[in-house]
């Protein structure tokens, strides 16, 4: 077999694998999107069909035409954006410390940081809520932002420590020899190189904040403070669900996340990190 032919076979296999994988991951989402264009009755029709006669954008019109629901989206953007930026900042500082310094209690701190996220959030609900009320943060963005930071910080610290660990120490030493401070070494050299890791961490953080329901509901009160997942749950009534509107709202809700992901994709692209490390 020539080299060219073997590459062609390999490419075919890869494409086949990718398509199978895409059906696995994409079909349910395709179905969800299709359902958002159906009438509620057709969603349950048998035999089921992907596209039905009553195909309409009605559900989207209802969701987007409602100022309350638009506000849910705005709140979700704001909270998730803030959480992502702040978590990355705080997590990077902590990760740097864990990766580059030796100090007492390091191991203990590590276990605590992992441990704090090991308590099921549902059991924390009541004491946590009392605390937020005592701190006068009830029904504020700050309550949601701080809460999600608590949920995501452990992850961010662990991941950033990991990414920094993979970067050679010679990199920061070069900055120190040039007369720069350690702080500079962190922001000017390590952070740009660790960017793919930061983006991956950031996407996770954004996603968690975007999708969290229980605390979003409990820690806010008024309709102008609610987020998208609460809005979706409000379509699940006591006696019936508005299936198509729920689907439409989810599809709309996932768009910003996907756009962010697409936008930051170039940071995952091959060569970039490798090149920097080489230099």
């Amino acid at each position: 077999m020539t080299k060219k032919a073997s590459i062609r076979t390999a490419r075919l296999l890869v494409i086949l694998g990718l398509i199978l994988g895409a059906i696995f991951s994409g079909f349910p989402i395709l179905w969800m999107t299709a359902s958002s264009f159906k009438s509620n009755m057709e969603i349950f029709a048998f035999p089921p069909r992907l596209i039905t006669e009553s195909f309409s954008f009605n559900a989207y019109k209802v969701v987007l035409g409602d100022p309350e629901k638009r506000r849910f989206f705005l709140n979700s953007y704001l909270v998730s954006g803030l959480v992502t930026v702040l978590t990355l900042f705080v997590g990077t500082l902590a990760g740097y410390s864990f990766s580059r310094y030796k100090f007492r209690f390091k191991k203990a701190l590590n276990v605590i940081i992992i441990g704090v996220q090991a308590v099921p959030p549902i059991t924390l609900l009541i004491p946590y809520f009392s605390l937020i009320v005592m701190l006068k943060l009830y029904n504020t963005y700050a309550a949601l932002v701080l809460t999600y930071m608590v949920f995501t910080l452990s992850y961010a610290i662990i991941m950033m420590t990991g990414y920094f660990n993979t970067l050679p120490r010679e990199l920061d030493e070069a900055v120190l020899i040039d007369g720069g401070s350690r702080f500079m070494a962190l922001w000017r050299v390590l952070v740009p190189i660790a960017l793919p890791g930061m983006v991956a961490t950031g996407i996770y953080t954004f996603m968690l904040a975007w999708n969290e329901f229980l605390f979003a509901l409990t820690l806010t009160k008024t309709i102008d403070m609610r987020t998208v997942p609460v809005g979706i749950q409000m379509l699940m009534g006591q006696h019936s669900y508005e299936w198509n509107e729920m689907m439409a709202m989810s599809v709309l809700g996932c768009l910003p996340v996907l756009i962010l992901y697409l936008f930051f994709q170039r940071y995952f692209m091959a060569g970039m990190t490798a090149g920097s490390v080489k230099g």
Partner: protein, 417 residues
């Protein structure tokens, strides 16, 4: 010792937070918070309009509606009661009342009524515990039987069943797995175990039976036994639509809408929903069949939108005014009209009773029978339904005998009394 340090730490946190500058505004008006799940269930703006009316009648009182999803209202009220942020007025489900009373989070309405010199003769019902009223059902959603007339006609049945054996017979005739049609639908989801109340125990109540005796569980009596055996008979005959063990009320109605089940026990709230989703569906409403030979009055299961007042409300008198407003003949008529429910005021008549044939029929069913929901006011009512469900599923499934199931359920229930 530990408690002291802990409190001191909390106090310190509060001080820090307070010094960071959160201000409270002095207000001359009283603002009542009203937590409920009703607003999202009603047409847009309809409930707010009623509140505006209340504010116009009661200058100096404002109502702030706090709306959440039904499924999470209970958690929110419990957490709010602990943290001291519970709303002045709260929407309640009959299944929660006993637990909130135990927690001490809702006020004794009898006291409020006495203070306001309120005449309670207009109230259709009051949920009483320990000699006091804690919840008043504002509107009620009864659960009659919905029948798909076209399917019935196709199966050659000309009258809706009125007895258990007629029902079993009709269900068998309706069932045709090849066409994907089944006679009955039974939601037994563990997440929302209210199928036990609406679709299982309702059979018992419709025949005048009871699952209680002198305020204690009595699940091993003949009535419960016959009901369970009857449903098991339907199950074994294969006339129940598949997927029962994870089905919820919200799924059940979609099966009916799509013409896949001939009969279901369901909330009146579904009449408009079915019409909206499938305008061509030809259906009618009838009373729940009773045991053969039973001639007494038929108990009718129902779910309520109940109302209560927070035990820690700073404005209990104003809160009561809001409750009284909702219970007044005029407002209650309006609310039951927009909610398609039956009123909690005996003198109120919702307009749909005259204008709508189906609702008229339902009203007839309602007036011929009596409201029966033995779960209302029981401790951990939802947990009781779930405990029963846990034993009922293996019985249907054939992995546990009827005696074992009922005895185990009885045992589980007794732990809570």
């Amino acid at each position: 010792m530990m408690k002291g340090t802990f409190r001191a730490f909390l106090a310190l946190l509060v001080l820090v937070a307070a010094s960071l500058g959160s201000q409270t505004f002095a207000q001359s008006d009283v603002t009542l918070e009203f937590t409920q799940w009703w607003e999202p269930e009603l047409p847009d703006g309809a409930f707010r309009a009623l509140m505006d009316e209340f504010e116009a009648q009661n200058p100096g009182i404002k109502v702030e509606l706090i709306s959440g999803p039904y499924s999470s209202t209970k958690e929110q009220v419990i957490a709010g009661a602990v943290a001291g942020t519970m709303s002045d007025v709260v929407g309640l489900d009959g299944a929660w009342v006993s637990d909130f009373v135990k927690q001490g989070s809702i006020a004794n309405l009898s006291d409020l009524m006495a203070e306001a010199a309120y005449d309670d003769s207009e109230l259709a019902s009051q949920i009483q515990l320990q000699g006091g009223t804690y919840m008043i059902p504002v509107v009620n959603f009864v659960y009659p039987v919905f029948v798909n007339l076209d399917l019935l006609a196709e199966a050659g049945i000309d009258a809706a069943p009125t007895t258990r054996s007629e029902f079993a017979d009709a269900a068998a005739k309706l069932t045709n797995p090849d066409n994907n049609v089944y006679g009955w639908v039974l939601p037994l989801s563990m997440e929302q175990p209210n199928g036990i109340q609406n679709d299982v125990m309702s059979w018992l109540w419709a025949s005048g039976g009871s699952m209680m005796k002198d305020g204690m569980p009595d699940l091993t009596n003949d009535g419960v036994r016959q009901t369970a055996e009857y449903i098991k008979g339907l199950w074994d005959a294969g006339v129940i639509a598949p997927g029962s063990f994870t089905m919820k009320e919200q799924d059940k109605v979609e099966e009916f809408v799509n013409g896949r089940v001939g009969m279901m026990i369901s909330s009146l709230a579904h009449i408009n929903l079915i019409r909206e989703r499938n305008p061509d569906l030809n259906f009618a409403i009838t009373a729940l069949p009773a045991a053969d030979g039973y001639t007494g009055k038929r108990g009718l299961p129902y779910a309520s939108w109940g109302i209560g007042v927070s035990a820690n409300s700073e404005h209990p008198a104003e809160a009561w005014k809001l409750v009284a407003f909702l219970m007044s003949q005029e407002t209650n008529s309006k609310l039951s009209s927009i909610a398609n429910a039956f009123p909690g005021n005996v003198n109120s008549t919702p307009d749909f009773v005259q204008s709508d044939e189906l609702f008229g029929a339902a009203f007839q069913v309602f007036q011929d029978g009596y409201l029966a929901n033995e779960f209302t006011g029981l401790p951990v009512a939802e947990d009781l339904m779930r405990a029963f469900d846990e034993q009922f599923q293996p019985y249907l499934d054939g992995s546990q005998s009827l005696d074992d199931s009922l005895n185990k359920a009885q045992e589980a229930w007794m732990e809570n009394f």
